[in-house]
């Protein structure tokens, strides 16, 4: 299942890249991409665990880029 979220406050492209890689490493995330220009985060993960994965994604965002907000 693929879902898109708005990610605000991402100001530098290499930060977006770091965050993208960190999210990709989360257990249960099949693929992730951050579109730096449209400020969107696209997550692909299994349907049955999606909510749990999303919680982890939110905490990774807080840890890696405290300036960013993931709008759920």
């Amino acid at each position: 299942m693929k879902k898109r979220y708005v990610l605000t406050g991402i100001d530098c492209a290499s930060c977006a890249e770091k965050l993208e890689n960190a999210i990709k490493k989360i257990d249960g995330v099949r693929d992730a991409a951050i579109n730096f220009m449209t400020q969107k985060l696209i997550i692909e993960a299994g349907e049955e665990r999606f909510d749990r994965v999303l919680d982890k994604v939110a905490s990774v965002v807080r840890r890696v880029e405290p300036g960013c907000t993931l709008i759920l």
């Binding site: 898109r4 100001d11 530098c12 492209a13 290499s14 890249e17 693929d31 991409a33 951050i34 579109n35 730096f36 220009m37 449209t38 400020q39 969107k40 696209i42 840890r63 405290p66």
Partner: protein
């Protein structure tokens, strides 16, 4: 400028004023340090704090930390003005960069401002305005003049002109009336439409287009992945270089410690790879955004980049080079009447949905009694065989006749011929023509002018038919008499013909050539408006069926590629220059910061040019255009 920007700006102003004061007031020793600490704290406190926090997370090569180290180092060797200048310029640069990115983002969102905000639903109690997400398939919606069609559907009442420019880039309005299909994203430019919704909002064209463009970030261009890999090594290497520069010359060549430390700090200042990392994806996305404005959807930076290296372009014939609308133009009965021959053919083709079959049934015009036809069998690439009123009818090409031992007449010309035989006896043939699109020849000539090495046509038609069309269009080579699976084999053969760096492009309509579309380096599907198959299968999707869009796409990809190369060369060039000057002792720290952030801003501004690469101005959004046209929103 947003709130954060304003706060930054105030800090920069106050910091600059305090800095100027510190430079003017004559003080000595500790007093002097204290005077400079004031502006340093105002401008640099946040940076130092962030750096401290990032150390805790183990992020050593963070740019905040590098700037902090550089400025603290400058303080230690009593270069107070340098220390403050580093922080000050760094902040100015960050602000300019953030502002430039924000501006580019706004241009892009104006470009993609095609998402409908509401839908007007017809209910028992009259019209109500709802979120398009809340509309179900089968609901009836009303679209007035100036409004956007929110979901895909079929017009059930009314007639109107619709503006499709936001989706196709085509500025001539289209007329629609009851029975016609309308696509979300069209703008009603005059009239009233009642539409029965056929697809939910999430499955409607406008949402799928936006998702495609957003998802393009996931398919990174080679240059982009290369640069992010490069950036990962660049920073550590430059920082290690700085350490060597600080330590080795004083230790072994009796250099002055403070002098070489200063030069090393310059390395730290320019070790941030941001100008590089930011400008490359921005350029590609700008190109993708600009292309979408012209009705060209590109599914990833990788395809945009590859298109610039297109060498061979292969076209499917029917529906791509030709209109795909067949018409019966000649009926040549062997014995008996034309009407009899047409009736035989129409019944034979009654179970087939091939465009050729449809044209025969259309020419016949009468209702077909399905009970008269049994044992219908479609023989792929040859034709059909059915039993009608007990007799076996064959309808198809010459190969079908040969295979059944029927002697048939060869006909001249560039058209499709359907031969008909009853119980092994030849009854004559029907000639069907497909018109070449008006812009096909011009589009092919333009592609040649743009340096495409070879153009190829793939067709299921007879060789002489294909060759005639090809020579009319100026196409170099023809693969004719292909069965549906033969297109993939032809594409594979062509892939071998391309040089190591050259790319093969396949252009089709995405309906029956999905395997060929995905096998080629770049698959372009045309006439995709409303066709899910084409949207799914291709790498690049042309919303309408005008071949000249391929040239536009090529121009956009080459221009974007050029901008990417310029940005990389500029960023690396400036950094190398500053490093060399730094080692030789000609560069000051603040000049290094200035060069670094200056390049970032220049690169972002340059990347934003990719938005206009298609020659379509994005400066005015659709909304503004409509306001200008006097529509109320």
């Amino acid at each position: 400028m947003n709130k954060v920007h304003k706060k930054d700006l105030y800090r920069i102003f106050i910091g600059s004023a305090l800095f100027a004061a510190a430079l003017l007031i004559p003080a000595k020793g500790a007093w002097k340090a204290a005077l400079f600490l004031l502006p340093y704290a105002v401008t640099g406190a946040d940076v130092l704090l962030l750096a401290a926090r990032n150390i805790k997370k183990g992020r050593i090569f963070d740019e905040n930390l590098l700037m902090s180290l550089a400025s603290i180092g400058a303080f230690c060797i009593r270069e107070y003005p340098e220390a403050v200048a580093v922080m000050l310029f760094y902040r100015v640069g960050e602000l300019a960069e953030s502002y430039a990115v924000g501006k580019a983002r706004r241009s892009i969102s104006a470009l993609m401002d095609i998402r409908p905000d509401y839908a007007v639903k017809e209910t028992g109690e009259g019209l109500i305005r709802v979120d398009p997400e809340d509309i179900a398939v089968g609901d009836v919606i009303v679209v007035k003049t100036g409004e956007r069609v929110p979901l895909d559907g079929i017009v059930i009442e009314g007639r109107a002109f619709v503006d499709t420019a936001a989706l196709t880039g085509e500025s001539v309005p289209r007329q629609v009336q009851a029975g016609d299909e309308v696509i979300s994203g069209f703008i009603n430019s005059g009239g009233l439409l009642k539409i029965k919704v056929e697809k939910t909002f999430g499955e409607s064209t406008v949402v799928r287009i936006l998702e495609l463009v957003e998802d393009s970030a996931a398919r990174k261009a080679k240059t982009e992945s290369f640069i992010s890999r490069f950036a990962r090594y660049y920073t550590p290497i430059v920082v290690i270089g700085a350490v060597f520069l600080a330590v080795l010359p004083p230790l072994f060549f009796s250099g002055i410690w403070s002098d070489w430390l200063m030069r090393a700090l310059i390395f730290l200042v320019i070790s941030c790879p941001c100008a590089l990392v930011i400008s490359v994806p921005l350029s590609f996305f700008g190109g993708i955004g600009g292309a979408s404005k012209s009705g060209i959807l590109i599914k990833g930076g990788n395809y945009l980049e590859a298109l610039a290296k297109a060498e061979i372009i292969a076209f499917d014939k029917t529906g791509t080079l030709t209109k795909g609308t067949f018409r019966v133009t000649q009926i040549n009965p062997e014995n008996g009447s034309s009407r009899y021959l047409l009736r035989l053919a129409a019944y034979a083709e009654s179970y087939s949905d091939h465009p050729v079959s449809r044209s025969i049934k259309e020419a016949f015009g009468e209702e077909i009694d399905p009970l008269r036809v049994t044992e219908a069998e479609e023989i792929s690439g040859l034709g059909v065989r059915v039993r009608m009123d007990g007799q076996v009818i064959l309808a198809g090409n010459g190969k079908l006749m040969d295979a059944n031992g029927v002697r048939w007449k060869v006909s001249e010309g560039s058209d499709t011929v359907v031969h008909v035989a009853v119980d092994g006896e030849y009854k004559g043939n029907i000639v069907i023509s497909d018109e070449i699109k008006e812009d096909s020849a011009a589009a092919i000539a333009e592609l040649k002018r743009q340096g495409i090495e070879k153009t190829v046509m793939l067709t299921g038609d007879l060789r002489h038919v294909g060759e005639k069309t090809a020579s009319e269009l100026g196409i170099d080579a023809v693969y004719a008499e292909l069965l549906p699976e033969g297109k993939v084999i032809a594409v594979e053969a062509l892939l071998n013909e391309t040089t190591a760096k050259g790319k093969l492009v396949y252009v089709g309509d995405g309906i029956n050539d999905a395997p060929a579309l995905s096998r080629a380096d770049i698959g372009i599907a045309m006439g995709a408006l409303g066709s899910d198959a084409a949207l799914e299968a291709a790498d690049i999707v042309l919303m309408d069926d005008s071949l000249s869009k391929i040239s536009t796409a090529l121009t956009i990809s080459r221009k974007t590629h050029g901008i990417v190369i310029q940005n990389i060369a500029m960023a690396l060039g400036f950094k190398a220059l500053v490093m060399v000057l730094g080692v030789l002792g000609y560069a000051t720290m603040w000049a290094a910061v200035f060069a670094d952030v200056g390049v970032s801003v220049l690169a972002i501004a340059n990347a934003a040019r990719a938005l206009n690469a298609g020659g379509v101005k994005h400066g005015r959004s659709m909304r503004q255009t409509r306001e200008k046209a006097g529509f109320k929103i």
